[in-house]
Symmetry: C2
Subunit: 256 residues, 2 copies
DNA sequence: CGGGGTTTTGAGACCGGTCAAACGCCGTGG
DNA sequence: CCACGGCGTTTGACCGGTCTCAAAACCCCG
């Protein structure tokens, strides 16, 4: 450990699309034990995980750097240990869709396992530390820890069940409800990560939020303004202060 | 095998919500080998799966019957072997969201693993045959087949990556694009299951499609009418005939 | 031949997108 | 220190699509 290595670790990059990109120049910083990773992923009921000697390497991303995964061979997963990211998936050439804003404990790269190729790109919105989980290691560990199989399913299922905003978009919620949902979710996640759940900084810009929530940038801004006018929140640039979390939660169910 | 057993197999149902429900009265009909299930799930690269003696029991659902999973203890997964279903998840009391229309090869119940409780309900839109996969068996098999771990991740990742309509909703596509996407996807799935990809029957009613696509029932109807008027498809009640699959596919990227 | 549920059609209102322009923040360079 | 310029943000006016509500047509089934 404590060695240095390049990030697009796929090896042969025959399939890389011709895009201007700025690979995350990355270095291993430290390493995590199996128990550490389990804790990150909130896998609690795994016996013997303390005894497991295997260690996972880390990768560092500086703010603005990107893990350009699209088309890369998928041979490992990533778990966010520190920092904030956004993941995007391209649809139309030039028109990409923001998919998630991963933070501590979130897993990246699941999408690529089926096809063997990653389908999305992750951009660091702040300095980030990621735990690398080579698929080979996962197979190995699965043999030693029979409960890991289910635990992984659990983690993936959670990621599926989560994404409340996504659910909201499908349920045909209005813009107010979606924005309220987004804010509530961000607050909860920040609180879960040890930050303040009342006052926090949105790391992404309005345009990203709009894209993520599937609405126009202007609408996001206006909605935030409305919520502020009603005294539910205070907005100052990217700093959000939540005054009435309960009311915000109730807004989530407002129909269009 | 060939025995009879009740479906809400969770055992203790302490947490069941007070809802009027109609349990799928279900019988085991036959069973599947491990290799059969792998084929269903399109897991190909698993050695020794032919030798695995384990067998999985089946459950039968008649059209209209429902697997009322909400709140049930989650101790098994389901794989669709035959028939068509719809899954819903309730948000508001009384207002539930259609989540997917599973068919052959699709997996049900992943959502429940994390919390231990199912969060959605499945309704049979036709007579169905489901393969039951107890989680205990999965753990056991995982020990005998090291590759299974990754394979399961692959299956789940595929389910994630799929759901193109869902993606479409988030990308802010217009109603035409979403309907076109829905039709194209249905056609592909039918084709993949050995049915005709040009002419097929939608098992769900307009209201379900609308809910799924996150739009008003009337809009679905009108959009289908427009597509028919343009000669791309022919609609006769629930029977769909696709005349111009290419044009339909192109429609998928039309913005709102 | 009813009766209920599903599908279809029509008219009007409202939300949210689009376009255009001004504002504020901030790093750069004179 | 201040002017400049780029980028993200904010505001306003207008337009179109989609929802809503209401009612009619249709189908399946008894």
């Amino acid at each position: 450990m404590h060695s240095t290595f390049p990030i697009p670790l796929g090896g042969h990059t025959a399939f890389t699309p011709p895009l201007p990109r700025q690979h995350g120049v990355t270095h291993a910083a430290s390493s995590s034990s199996f128990a550490n990773v389990c804790e990150l992923l909130r896998i609690c009921d795994l016996p013997d995980c303390e005894q497991e000697p295997h260690r996972f390497r880390h990768a560092l991303l500086h703010s603005g750097q990107s893990l350009h995964l699209i088309g890369q061979q998928c041979d490992q997963l990533f778990v966010v240990k520190t920092g904030f990211l956004k993941t995007t998936q391209m649809g139309e050439p030039g028109k990409q869709q923001v998919f998630s804003f991963p933070m501590r404990g979130d897993m990246l790269g699941i999408d690529g396992i089926a096809s063997g190729r990653h389908t999305l790109e992750a951009v660091a919105l702040s300095d980030c530390e990621l735990v690398l989980i080579p698929l080979d290691d996962l197979t190995l560990l699965g043999r030693r820890h029979p409960g890991l199989q289910l635990a992984m399913c659990s983690v993936m299922g959670r990621n599926l069940a989560r994404a409340p905003v996504l659910i909201g978009a499908r349920a045909g919620l209005g813009t107010r409800a979606r924005v309220a949902r987004f804010l509530t979710y961000q607050a909860e996640r920040h609180a879960a990560c040890g930050f303040s759940g009342n006052t926090f900084t949105l790391r992404m810009q309005r345009e990203d939020i709009a894209n993520y929530l599937c609405m126009a940038t202007e609408t996001v801004i206006r909605t935030l303004g409305m919520l502020e006018g009603e005294g539910l929140i205070a907005v100052n640039r990217r700093l959000i202060r939540i005054h009435d979390a309960a009311a915000l939660r109730n807004l989530q169910r407002d129909r269009r």
